[in-house]
Amino acid sequence: MSHDLPSRRDFVATSGSALGGAWLARLAPLLVAAQACARASRDDTGAFVTLTAREAADFDALAGRIVPSDDTPGAREAGVTRFADRAFGSFLADLLPSVRAGLERMHDRALGTGLAPSFADLPTEVQDQLIAQVEAEDGGFFFLARSTVMLGLLSPSEHGGNQGGLGWELIGFEDRFVYQPPFGYYDRDEHGPAPTRGGA
């Protein structure tokens, strides 16, 4: 994404004096620290720490069928499995047992096909068939897994997903901090004298 306006965080960190006020001044140093933390976390490409290698591979394959990669990047390129690994080790830790058990059941379904040693190794057409089964028969797990994929796709990249803003780019959301009217097509003539109407 090319930004001719600063990002939300850049804006707050650098514009405190322009807007003034103790409220904003209090924010600036903390957000600078948050940015540093975010940069550090983006450099982290090491092994998964919460999910096992097989769990991570299966989750990644599942994510790749929920928001597939085609002519544009999908959930895998956005790093949702990296997000899941971190989230299940931190703020979603309470959900890890349910997700882990669900991944195990999905693994059993994969073995049951006799076609591959894991879900991740199955052909995508078979993966899709199994996902349809999981959605119908193991809805609680599917909901958690799908929600986690969407969280990883559409949360700030500090959490490990939405790498390069790919998720936000997919849905057409720009992460700027300041907008000016007009905001969209339908309010384009609403914010000042309409040029074609003369001096009414």
Binding site: G21, R26, V67
Partner: protein
């Protein structure tokens, strides 16, 4: 770091302890301190720093953001008293911020006033089976000066509309610039013969009271405002309260009970401080402003031999008559980009269906506003985003791309008071401070469902008249979550049928006042915060008079 203006000794009684610093508590703190009283505000959440204000939806809803965690704040939900309540396990069902400023930090800032009809609707429409609908003990005219006070002191943008209640002062600042969704709602509504108007919002369109205007960053709904343009009590009231030198905001102070003496009067408020140590603040009087779910819980936890069923509960109505306001989305896709993630939540509203009409065959009234279909995160997370559309795969990915082309005509409407709809103590859940979790029992009244479906039909007509490519209806009910918790300590003149009197004094306890969403006798048509704050300004006047006359 914030400079604490004053510190009071817990053992020395202050004039007032206020429990909660949100919509009502922030106003009461500012008013009572300004009127010369010593005030300690006990707030369970933190006094925010920038680290808490980052528009990070994952953190807000799933992490340690404004709402707190489900592990710290467990709560449960059931439809009827016969059912086992289900604990919230993924997203909270009771949505309110735990921080100084309370839910005014993350609200959408829609500031509708009630109208005269809201205050005497029981007399106008008669009894409704299954509902405890009652008239308020006060009128719109009595509350109007305080609505204007909210407009000017808290900061509300807007412009008079054809469906407004009478007002004594104009808005202090003009309405927010119209968004594409507002244009479409406005034009569609006019085409079907309705009378849309600008939405009043507690967000500044121009500098006011030393605060800056909105920079249109978006996602106001659910997130706090970085620049202080949203008129939370954190930026509008709390600084004024502290500046008096008579108000101490004690954050991370989780109240566990209110103690009473042998005569039944409250003497002190017991809380767990930020270090996890139990403390008690002595007080001449206590004001409960913790919200319509937390306030009844605290009263239940404060029983004594004089108050065996919970403090101030001789009526048996503490926690009962819980109301939410119905909410129902009507999604539509348009050919061009709206970009509804920008700027404020809503810029136009339709109030033509505000009044109940017996000819419909059911009770109800409400309004429609134009807003984003969802926040970016929830656009993806909606389980079955749009009826008939897939939830995964290539078609889902394609559907994700339609986000900037979407809007919702959201329906907001009445929810009738029903005595069995309630807040009680969950028998199993315990929160991080040893308090029982809050249990909600809620079954939508059939008239509430019938009316909101009626209103959605009107929303569909508006969107189609506006040129929508396609319209989707969200299903109506059953309610499974809420950010509006109303009516659980209702106001009234009769101690047998209400918890507080018309001045917000508990019928049973002369030095206990209750003022928040729980005081509301009816829930209006949506957007209750404006009324909660008008009630708080009014309560502060009455409490001040009583204190000065030595009547507390």
């Amino acid at each position: 770091m914030r400079q604490q203006s004053v510190r009071f000794s817990p053992s020395e009684p202050v004039d007032f302890v206020i429990v909660g610093s949100g919509a009502a508590g922030g106003v009461l703190a500012k008013e009572l301190a300004t009127n010369g009283f010593s005030v300690v505000v006990l707030e369970q959440g933190p006094y925010l720093t920038g680290a808490d204000v980052d528009h990070d939806e994952a953190r807000t809803y799933f992490g340690d953001g404004l709402l707190g965690t489900l592990r710290e704040h467990p709560h449960s939900w059931r439809r009827t008293e016969d059912e086992q309540a289900t604990p919230a396990s993924f997203l909270p069902s009771l949505i309110y911020a735990k921080a100084v400023g309370g839910s005014t930090l993350h609200f959408a800032a829609n500031y509708w006033r009630l109208r005269p009809v809201d205050f005497n609707e029981r007399s106008r429409v008669g009894a409704i089976p299954g509902s405890t609908l009652a008239d308020w003990p006060i009128t719109y005219e009595e509350l109007e000066p305080y609505y204007s006070k909210v407009d000017w002191e808290v900061g509300v943008s807007g412009a008079p509309g054809p469906r407004d209640a009478p007002r004594s002062r104009p808005y202090p600042v003009p309405p927010m610039p119209i968004k594409s969704s507002g244009v479409l709602l406005r034009d569609g509504a006019r085409r079907v013969g309705l009378t849309p108007q600008p939405a009043p919002l507690a967000i500044l369109s121009r500098p006011h009271n030393g605060r800056p205007p909105c920079i249109h960053c978006g996602l106001c709904w659910g997130q706090a405002c970085e620049v202080g343009a949203k008129s939370s009590t954190l930026v509008s009231m709390i600084p004024l309260a502290e500046r008096t030198g008579r108000c101490e905001i004690r954050d991370r102070s989780v109240v566990t009970r209110i103690d009473t003496d042998a005569t039944g009067r409250v003497t002190r408020v017991v809380y767990v401080d930020r270090e996890g140590v139990e403390q008690a603040q002595a007080a001449r009087a206590v004001v409960l402003a913790a919200n319509g779910a937390e306030t009844p819980r605290l009263l239940f936890l404060s029983g004594s031999s004089q108050h065996p069923d919970g403090l101030a509960n001789s009526s048996g109505l503490v926690g009962k008559n819980l109301m939410f306001n119905m909410y129902l989305d009507t999604w539509a896709r348009f050919p061009e980009r709206l970009n509804e993630y920008k700027s404020v939540v809503a810029t136009q509203i339709v109030l033509d269906f505000y009044d109940a009409d017996p000819a419909r065959g059911f009770y109800g009234g409400g309004g429609i506003d134009a807003r984003a279909s969802a926040s970016p995160l929830f656009w993806g997370m909606l389980d079955n985003p749009l009826d008939g559309m897939p939830g995964w795969g290539p078609a889902f990915k394609e559907q994700l791309r339609s986000y900037p082309y979407m809007m919702s005509a959201a329906c907001h409407s009445t929810s009738l008071p029903v005595e069995s709809n309630s807040v009680t103590l969950d028998p199993e859940l315990v929160d991080a401070w040893g308090r029982p979790g809050i249990r909600v029992t809620y079954d939508d009244h059939p008239d509430d469902l019938a009316f909101v479906r009626f209103l959605q039909d009107r929303a569909v007509e508006i969107l189609e008249a506006a040129g929508a490519e396609r319209v989707w209806r969200a299903p109506a009910g059953p309610s499974t979550a809420t950010a509006h918790m109303l009516g659980t300590c209702r106001m009234g003149d009769d101690p047998r049928s209400s918890v507080v009197d018309r001045r917000h004094r508990a019928h049973d306890v002369p030095n206990l006042f209750i003022c928040d969403g729980s005081s509301m006798v009816t829930g209006g048509r949506g957007q209750p915060t404006m009324t909660i704050q008008a009630l708080a300004f009014r309560a502060a006047d009455h409490i001040t008079e009583m204190a000065r006359r030595g009547e507390i």
